[in-house]
């Protein structure tokens, strides 16, 4: 049954957990990305499960440098390709939220500011899942992680998640979008657009993590969809600074439907945390108002 799955450029036999959202995301990305591409990934889940020596899943050139420097390494690769007169080969970074929101933010900002044609995709599973589900600055408000435990003095993550897409957009990049694995056609279209952009491009990709979120592996796609349907994760697309596309869910669901089935949020459904829940609902409502969803 072995054989080169050339359609994906990302082979099976990798070590991702069953039902891994990041693995689904990378397959969808790589299908759209084609073969004439060089991928850079910082340290993280993806690096760990896809790159063992003598067991790499990558079928395109793939570089894992360090945790905090993938955008700069991609810049160097692009500079070399340009010096060689190679305008065809694309450069893509696929990095987790820890590498993007936290440790690699400076490097990312440098990349987005320069004019190189590099697509950066942040696969966001909302925490340091590979090291044991610690909190990152992508961990949502109220979520329980191993470093935001629940206790008499704590309701979980107490800071609001950064608005990564707006941070990227503030660099005046020509293409910025959000996507999630439940909408593969939408994501693949966005990847193609990002790679065709004359300049840096950015995609924020939500990839649920069954282990870190406390959901069943088979529910990965379901929660990816619920994040969109509750307006907590709107699917949008900006070209040249203009909002050109919004996915409008038919009916916006209350955030409870998304939160209550995830173990990282079960503590929010107690009397004392009702206020936290209301705040999360307000965050979703703010998104609905911003993008004109009917509530």
């Amino acid at each position: 049954m072995e054989g080169k799955d050339r359609k994906n450029n990302f082979a099976p036999g990798h070590n991702a957990c069953p039902g891994c959202g990041a693995a689904i995301g990378v397959r969808q990305i790589m299908r759209a990305a084609g073969e004439n591409i060089i991928v850079v990934s910082p340290t993280g889940c993806l690096e760990t499960f896809s790159s063992p020596y003598g067991g790499s899943a990558w079928e395109v050139p793939w570089v894992h440098p360090l945790f905090e420097n993938a955008p700069a390494v991609a810049t160097g690769i692009k500079a070399a390709l340009k010096h060689q007169g190679n305008e065809e080969t694309r450069v893509l970074v696929i990095g987790g939220d820890g590498a993007t929101y936290d440790i690699g933010m400076g490097s990312l900002s440098g990349m987005l500011e320069r004019e190189d044609e590099i697509l950066y995709i942040c696969y966001d599973n909302e925490g340091y899942m590979n090291t044991g589900i610690q909190r990152s600055s992508a961990t949502p408000y109220g979520a329980k992680t191993s470093t935001t435990p629940i206790g008499v003095c704590s309701f979980g993550e107490s800071c609001r998640k950064k608005d990564l897409l707006e941070i990227a957009r503030a660099h005046h990049i020509k293409y910025a979008a959000s996507g999630t694995i439940a909408y593969p056609q939408d994501l693949m279209k966005k990847v193609k657009k990002g790679l065709a952009t004359k300049g840096p491009a950015f995609i924020h990709l939500l990839t649920p993590c069954s282990l870190g979120w406390g959901i069943e592996p088979e529910a990965t796609i379901e929660f990816s969809k619920l994040a969109v349907e509750t307006a907590l994760f709107p699917l949008v697309e900006y070209e040249n600074g203009e909002l050109v596309n919004i996915f409008i869910p038919k009916k916006i669901k209350p955030v409870d439907e998304y939160l209550k089935k995830q173990k990282r949020y079960t503590h929010l459904f107690s009397k004392e945390n009702a206020g936290v829940l209301a705040e999360i609902q307000e965050m979703a409502d703010a998104n609905s108002r911003k993008y004109g969803f009917r509530q």
Binding site: I24, S56, T220
Partner: protein, 88 residues
């Protein structure tokens, strides 16, 4: 094993790994219900599914048994059943 300088390794060698050993459940396809839409193939994290003759075929060598395909099939054509060791 060959040691390349700089710990640089060849592409695609993960394909030798039989991740099918991990699973407890395996998706069984009801060929009557399956219309080969391919949504399961796009959602599979492990590239186990191929659409052949407009029907879904699951590769037991790699399938870790996560169950996404069965959960997401719009026609409920896949059901998770214990084992599936024979399906390779």
């Amino acid at each position: 094993m060959k040691l390349n300088i700089g710990c640089i390794t060849e592409a695609g060698l993960s394909k030798k790994n039989r991740t099918g050993y991990w699973r407890y459940f395996f998706p069984i396809v009801d060929k009557e219900k399956c219309n080969g839409c391919g949504i399961c193939e796009l959602f599979c994290p492990d590239s186990c599914i191929q659409i052949k003759d407009k029907k879904c075929v699951v590769n037991g060598y790699y399938c870790k048994g996560c169950g996404i395909c069965a959960r997401e099939c719009p026609r409920a054509a896949l059901t998770m059943q214990p084992g599936g060791e024979e399906a390779e």
